[in-house]
Symmetry: C2
Subunit: 148 residues, 2 copies
DNA sequence: GCATATTGCAACTATCGTTGTTACGATATG
DNA sequence: CATATCGTAACAACGATAGTTGCAATATGC
């Protein structure tokens, strides 16, 4: 199945926005992500609703970061995207009240719930500021076109 | 996105097969799962290649369990299905060698890898026999049509 | 041998969610 | 009033599983 790259893309954008004085247009962001301005607006709408970014219409408008990166966790962005399903694997629906199916699904659910808790705890424990600092370390080691 | 229910379905089938003297036809299995015999053959082909079941053509043929349930873990079945992607969330591809993107993806990869290890360890730690025993407990509490 | 039950498999369609695109309206700037 | 920009609806493209049809291969039993 086609996989959901919105979380990854939004983290990418937000870290860039901090380094970007003023606002960035949907078109500029789209170029950064290799996609289309409409996709950018659509995806960032959720972040705006949750107060992580603001958008301004008209000439000179665009998107601005509304909070310091250290105040935003990866889990925050996941939730701002409406907590899309994490797993590609699903339990089959129980067609006939079959007790075997129920035993299977109970076991699988426990396993997936544990993995989900592990993942979400980790996403909540990392902030965008952490990623920005990791980026800064990488840039020092391997300066990007002399701008680092 | 449409989610993959093959693991869940295969576990269901295998637990049933132990209680089934002799072989079960694709058609009978399909009825159990509320699907089509071709889907059953297609999915169970992987299990056959790994030696968990055997299939016999012709009248009186069908599918048979090739090992005791206690000798098969949930992780074994996941691998027999060719280890399909576990997560619906993906990292965006790095278009421009962007160091920000790389920092984002490294962080996400670490988080997803940890969650994956958690899940796989759990799937490897549970056998189909465990599920069968859980089923037996459920059946004692709530007998299905008097067959126990 | 022949009718039949059954698996094996190729090829196609259906489905579902993200992604990509087009089009148009709303709004702010100058 | 021209223009830049977001907002949103509507729809096509894509990718993976799931479902379906059709037919060949094979084993059984008469």
């Amino acid at each position: 199945m086609k996989r959901d790259s919105r979380l990854s893309r939004m983290l990418h954008v937000l870290v860039h926005m901090e380094r970007h004085e003023g606002s960035a247009t949907s078109e500029a962001i789209a170029k950064m992500l290799g996609t289309n301005p409409v996709v950018v607006r659509r995806t960032m709408a959720g972040l705006r609703e949750h107060g992580y970014v603001t958008s301004v219409k008209g000439p000179g408008g665009g998107w601005t970061l509304a909070r310091p990166l250290d105040a935003i966790s990866l889990g925050d962005i996941h939730r701002a995207l409406d907590s899309p399903p994490i797993f590609a694997l699903a339990a089959a629906v129980d067609h006939a009240g079959c007790l075997v199916e129920q035993a299977v699904n109970a076991t699988l659910k426990a396993a997936f719930d544990e993995a989900e808790r592990t993942l979400l705890a980790r996403l909540d424990g990392v902030s965008l500021g952490d990623i920005a600092r990791d980026h800064a370390r990488r840039a020092r080691r391997k300066p990007p076109r002399g701008k680092g």
